[in-house]
């Protein structure tokens, strides 16, 4: 395999792998996004910007509080 | 405070060695396996005497590496059943003591294994001994490094179900430098290479020191999560 063939193979594998990985992330997140009917809100932009803005816990554990006597 | 750590560590090591003495797993199974690995190398290299002699240091350490991984596996499998892991967490032993105790027991079993493997190397691969002191230093320090690293990764994989495959995958890249340094040092000890062996022993010492420090910090949290 002459050097040009090898070089193009190198570029192909690198760009292909990055594209495949990007696609897999986007499709997996779209699938979960549909399943939950939510997207990740815009406010969570770049990770270093978004501080501890984890979705708050739903108000207390749902359902009946442990029964009172 | 420090003596208490070592007293507890001694208790843990004694327990592990007592279990080994009662069950003889290492003596009856792991050592023969180590020797078997060496013999199989001869088949692989077509009993080519000079090749085997050249490769003897590396073959020795590969034998230690794989047989040693089984010793580590065994050391933590013992802690698995019957709620013993819970009992250990409640036991009152400090994590550092458990770490040093487990590592010490692994170290002792490995040294016994290595004596057998060294005899095998000398007999099977017809290896001369030009610097016994270097040989002992390399083996002792390298094995200490392996035992400490093994204790850390053994605890890391304690709670994981697929441990048989995960432990070697995690452990071998980490002990690769020990295999590398140990082999080069043994080449000098066996008089195969003229390169100085002692600087490799220096490297092994640094690695051992680093993993001893890490283990004392990481062992507690690791025992927690299993």
């Amino acid at each position: 395999m002459d050097s040009w063939g090898t070089i193009l193979l190198g570029y192909g594998i690198t760009f292909g792998a990055i594209a495949a990985y990007a696609y897999s992330i986007l499709s997996r997140s779209r699938a979960i996004g549909h399943e939950l009917g939510i997207g990740v809100p815009a406010s969570s932009a770049l990770p270093h910007l978004s501080g501890p803005e984890d979705p708050e816990d739903p108000e207390g554990s749902p359902g009946v509080r442990s029964n009172e006597r | 405070m420090m003596t208490e750590l070592f007293v507890d560590a001694a208790r843990v090591a004694r327990k592990d060695l007592l279990i080994e003495w009662r069950t003889r797993v290492t003596i009856n199974q792991v050592i023969p396996l180590g020797l078997l690995i060496e013999v199989v190398f001869a088949f692989a290299f077509d009993a080519n005497r000079s090749l085997l002699e050249q490769g003897a240091p590396g073959l020795f350490w590969v034998g230690v590496l794989f047989a040693g991984t089984l010793v580590v596996q065994r050391s933590f499998t013992v802690e698995g059943p019957d709620g013993i892991t819970d009992a250990l967490r409640l036991s009152g032993f400090r994590p550092g003591a458990m770490f040093l105790g487990k590592a010490a027991a692994i170290f002792v079993e490995l040294v016994v294994l290595e004596v057998a493997l060294l005899v095998g190397v000398v007999v099977l691969f017809d290896v001369g001994l030009s610097d016994p002191l270097l040989l002992v230093a390399t083996t002792v320090i390298g094995t200490a490094g392996f035992a400490l690293t093994g204790a850390i990764y053994g605890a890391l994989s304690l709670g994981v179900r697929v441990r048989e495959t995960l432990l070697p995958l995690l452990l071998i890249p980490v002990v690769a430098p020990i295999l590398l340094g140990g082999s080069r040092a043994l080449e000098a000890a066996f008089g195969i290479s003229t390169q100085p062996g002692w600087n490799w022993v220096g490297l092994l010492t640094v690695i051992t020191g680093v993993y001893a420090a890490i283990g004392l910090v990481a062992f507690g949290p690791l025992m927690e999560e299993s």
Binding site: - | I19, D82, S91
Partner: protein, 244 residues
């Protein structure tokens, strides 16, 4: 609900509850074994946990022992906050689980020496513990795996005795014990509670358990459903009605 002596009790005085859980959620993997459990137990009580399998009894005991992380809600045991410092409570705990918690390959004496030695129990304490559970000296140098299930259970309890815990947490303690073993265990629990320790145990053998316990708590679906106090058969002061 609260398991408490009605009036101020001379021996124990009004002390903080040994176990104080409120809306506690504990996950096993992703399964909420405790789903918002609320319960509090005062010192010196022997509490029986009643409930079907999978109700959360074992998880509750292991959470009290500081072995499981609390995902939500509040949980304090012996004054330690289980969400922050659950490791500090452990030396004071005596947990008897389903497993024997013994090294099968070691002898009875080896096990006592190891587990007892960890908390500083010397050979005399170890012997006393074995004698308390009437484990015959003939068996002391036999490896645990050769013992019968009942004998193994007695040795496991002997280890607990040697540890002298402030909080006993027992999961089906009577299972595997013969009649004599059960009598010994009940006596030990009564004595421990009288000496100020607290006992919480799960059991299906209600006839046996209700003789020992002074309170029964029903657990279901990872939460407490009801708590009723029992007239204590053994010696011990009567407990007033449960206040809440």
């Amino acid at each position: 609900m609260r398991v408490a002596a009605a009036g101020v009790d001379r021996l124990r005085g009004f002390m903080a509850p040994v176990i104080d859980f409120e809306d506690t959620v504990v996950l096993l993997g992703r399964f909420p074994a405790l789903a918002g459990l609320t319960m509090s137990v005062d010192p010196g009580h022997i509490v029986l946990l009643r409930g079907s399998n999978g109700a959360g009894k074992t998880t509750f005991l292991r959470t009290c022992a500081g072995l499981l992380p609390v995902s939500q809600g509040r949980a304090r045991v012996l004054g330690f906050d289980m969400t922050v410092s659950r490791r500090e409570v452990r030396p004071h705990i005596g947990l008897l689980g389903h497993g024997s918690q013994l090294y099968d390959d070691l002898t009875v004496a080896d096990n006592l020496a190891f587990w007892g030695g960890a908390v500083g129990a010397d050979s005399a304490d170890q012997r006393a513990a074995l004698e308390a559970m009437e484990v015959s000296p003939r068996l002391w140098n036999i490896s645990v795996q050769k013992l019968s299930a009942g004998q193994r259970r007695r040795v496991a309890i002997a280890v607990l005795v040697a540890r002298r815990p402030r909080l006993w947490l027992l999961d089906e303690p009577h299972a595997g014990l013969d009649r004599r073993g059960r009598d010994l265990l009940d006596g030990l629990l009564g004595a421990a509670a009288a000496a100020g320790a607290t006992v919480v145990f799960a059991s299906h053998e209600l006839d046996r358990a209700e003789v020992v316990a002074d309170t029964v708590v029903d657990i279901g679906g990872g939460r407490t459903l009801a708590a009723t106090s029992l007239p204590r058969g053994t010696a011990g002061e009567g407990t007033g009605p449960d206040d809440d």
